[in-house]
């Protein structure tokens, strides 16, 4: 086992896949110098100018070039520096990349990855650099959505995304980049669409993604100190979604709290809640509850940010409410 930070795990996964398949090429803003989050550090030196390409600040060109390159026989990995910037190339992502295979009757496949820094995590990045936006993509058939919760997950899921023959959006959490953890030695690839039980418990199911997996674990610790055992699930991917894992846990616990960092107005948690309500209704002992980011743009001052970000305390409160429900 090697200890890697999340950002090192991203770079290691890229290196692993670039060494394995010379069709894997990188493009994005500042990627030659390693990127603003140092997730491509050393790759230009290791693989050469033909494999790592700097782009202008042109997200439409980046996403579109990735699509064209995928149709042209490469397996591009494009960095969208901050996931908020998907808004500037949303046409390419949702109208072109997501749909071209279907619209052409299956004439093309798009083995491409769009990846970048997502989420708040209390870093003060504010409304235009701190959003969690996986749910933007979840409305659109044709996109796979990956959101790793730690270094080992980042390594294994990014590797799988690069090997996948469909377009995959990988949302790395910027507040996790410094997190250090043991990562398996050698080739490490995790399947897409398989949730992970992070902690087993029979009293309440806590479902998280990316940074909220940690939030759920912190809440589970607090609940455990009161003799309550939480089943903590890391979804890992929103599409494909391992709904079966959620339903199986809910059938055991009868209680479900879904924890998402994005605003709850139409967050991915709504889809999880609807699935549980429709397909596990008779197993539920309490209403499905969602803990979400506030339904406001993300403020910057730490006191305001903490007010709207999800927290372990809010998860504990939600879990207690469903556990006490009569």
């Amino acid at each position: 086992m090697a200890e890697l930070t999340y950002r090192q795990a991203v770079a290691a996964a890229l290196a692993q896949e670039m060494a394995r398949d010379d069709r894997v090429v990188l493009l994005g803003e500042d990627v030659v110098s390693g990127g603003v989050f140092k997730t491509t550090a050393g790759l230009r030196e290791k693989f050469g100018a033909d494999r790592v390409w700097n782009t202008p600040i042109s997200e439409q060109a980046i996403a579109g070039a990735a699509m064209g390159a995928a149709m042209g026989g490469l397996r591009p990995v494009a960095e969208i520096m901050f996931a908020d910037f998907y808004a500037t190339c949303w046409d390419q992502v949702v109208n072109e990349i997501a749909k071209v295979r279907y619209m052409t009757g299956g004439q093309v496949r798009l083995p491409l990855v769009l990846r970048g820094a997502n989420g708040s995590g209390g870093l003060g990045f504010g409304s235009q650099h701190g959003q969690s936006v996986e749910n933007w993509a979840m409305c659109v058939p044709g996109l796979k959505i990956v959101s790793p919760a730690g270094p080992a997950e980042a390594f294994g899921l990014l590797s799988a995304a690069i090997r996948d023959d469909d377009p995959v959006l990988v949302f790395e959490h910027k507040a996790l980049y410094g997190r250090r953890e043991e990562v398996p030695e050698g080739e490490h690839v995790l399947p897409l669409g398989r949730a992970r039980t992070v902690r087993a418990g029979g009293d309440v199911t806590l479902v998280g993604l990316s940074i909220t997996v940690g939030t759920c674990l912190a809440a589970a610790d607090e609940l455990a100190s009161h003799g309550l055992a939480a089943d903590v699930l890391d979804l890992r991917t929103l599409v494909p979604l391992d709904a079966a894992a959620v339903l199986a846990s809910v059938r055991r616990t009868g209680r479900l709290v879904v924890v998402e960092e994005n605003p709850g107005q139409l967050g991915w948690g709504a889809a999880i809640a609807a699935i549980a309500a429709e397909e596990a209704f008779s197993d539920l002992a309490a209403p499905v509850t969602r803990v979400s980011g506030g339904n406001v743009p993300l403020p910057v001052a730490a006191s305001l940010e903490a007010e709207v970000d999800v927290s372990a305390a809010r998860v504990v409160a939600a879990a207690r409410a469903v556990l006490n429900y009569r």
């Binding site: 042109s58 439409q60 579109g64 072109e96 279907y102 052409t104 009757g105 979604l241 079966a244």
Partner: protein, 322 residues
């Protein structure tokens, strides 16, 4: 390719689109249709300088560009008419005609979206050293959208083997392009901003299109980077088949009808000694062949509804969850 062959191909596109117009007005086409009538010389001239393995992309006004690369006309018609065997299996329709097998990587209905995609195809060719060239067709209105500028800039910075061909038909949908650009020519007058030459060609003269696009393709193939070509032409019909184009001055329409690319290619052929009646014979035979083809395709069954549930993912499936 000799002049007669160019005429035959342009004549086919003219009658194909004329027939599509008729079918649309009879209510036989589901959804919108944008005809390339009057712009045949660009599609045929440019396609005639491409090799197998080269890539091209077009807009929602893309039937001609697909056919010019060799897409089977019956499969294109089946797509337009919602019949089995459509080139996109009924999932693309008129605005998304695609024939990857023939190097035509799609018709894109979001203005400007395909210019960055063309960069990517050219980038792949550059990295893989295939010598393939990508040609990307778009309208004058596209020169005002961000993707145009991002893509031309990237192509120039990366010296990509791509040729951008602006089909300037002088109208951004229902609005004269002159009303919405601060320069005289939508593409040519923007070229300098990307370090590219100002290239203008008479887009209704198929021989001129062949020469100018041919030079640009040769330059791209030999590693000299991208070109931006403005081919000046005119729509003989409205923006879409539902638009009569009544906002256009009658005198302007008359003037451009005299510059019809079919008349031009015929005049060049007869000046070179071709027999008028032989050209007429080609014209009338093509018209009846296309009408026969339409009747045959209309007789086909509609696609099986189950086809809606295939090819979201590369394994053929659509499911997003277990």
């Amino acid at each position: 390719m000799d002049g007669l062959e160019l005429y035959v191909r342009m004549c086919f596109l003219r009658h194909f689109e004329d027939r599509v117009d008729v079918l649309y007005r009879r209510g036989l086409i589901h959804g919108p249709v944008h005809l390339g009538l009057g712009q045949e010389a660009i599609a045929v001239g440019a396609a005639s300088v491409l090799r197998p393995g080269d890539c091209s992309l077009g807009t929602y006004r893309g039937h001609a560009h697909a056919l010019a690369r060799g897409a089977p006309p019956d499969a294109v018609l089946a797509e337009l008419l919602g019949r089995a065997g459509g080139i996109c299996q009924g999932k693309g329709g008129s605005m998304h005609i695609t024939s990857v097998e023939h190097g035509y990587f799609g018709s894109y209905a979001i203005v400007g979206a395909h210019l960055p995609i063309a960069c990517g195809l050219a980038w792949a060719a550059k990295i893989r050293r295939t010598e393939a060239v990508t040609v990307c067709f778009f309208g004058d209105g596209t020169t005002n959208i961000g993707a145009f500028h991002e893509a031309v800039n990237l192509a120039a910075v990366w010296r990509l083997p791509v040729v951008f061909v602006c089909e300037n038909n002088w109208y951004m949908e229902y609005t004269p392009i002159a009303d919405v650009i601060p320069v005289a020519l939508p593409a040519a007058d923007r070229a300098a901003a990307y370090g590219l030459d100002r290239v203008v060609v008479d887009g209704n003269d198929v021989t001129a299109v062949r020469r100018v696009v041919g030079d640009a393709v040769t330059a791209a193939r030999s590693g000299e980077g991208p070109s931006l070509v403005e081919a000046q032409t005119y729509r003989l019909k409205g923006h879409s088949a539902a638009d009569a184009g009544a906002y256009r001055p009658a005198a302007e329409v008359t003037l451009w009808r005299e510059r019809d690319p079919l008349l031009r290619v015929r005049a060049a052929l007869t000046a070179a000694g071709a027999n008028e009646s032989a050209l007429d014979e080609i014209d009338s035979r093509t018209r009846s062949d296309v009408a026969d083809l339409a009747r045959q395709v209309l007789g086909r069954p509609v696609p099986e509804p189950s086809g809606a549930w295939t090819d979201v993912w590369s394994d053929g499936s659509w499911q997003w969850r277990n």
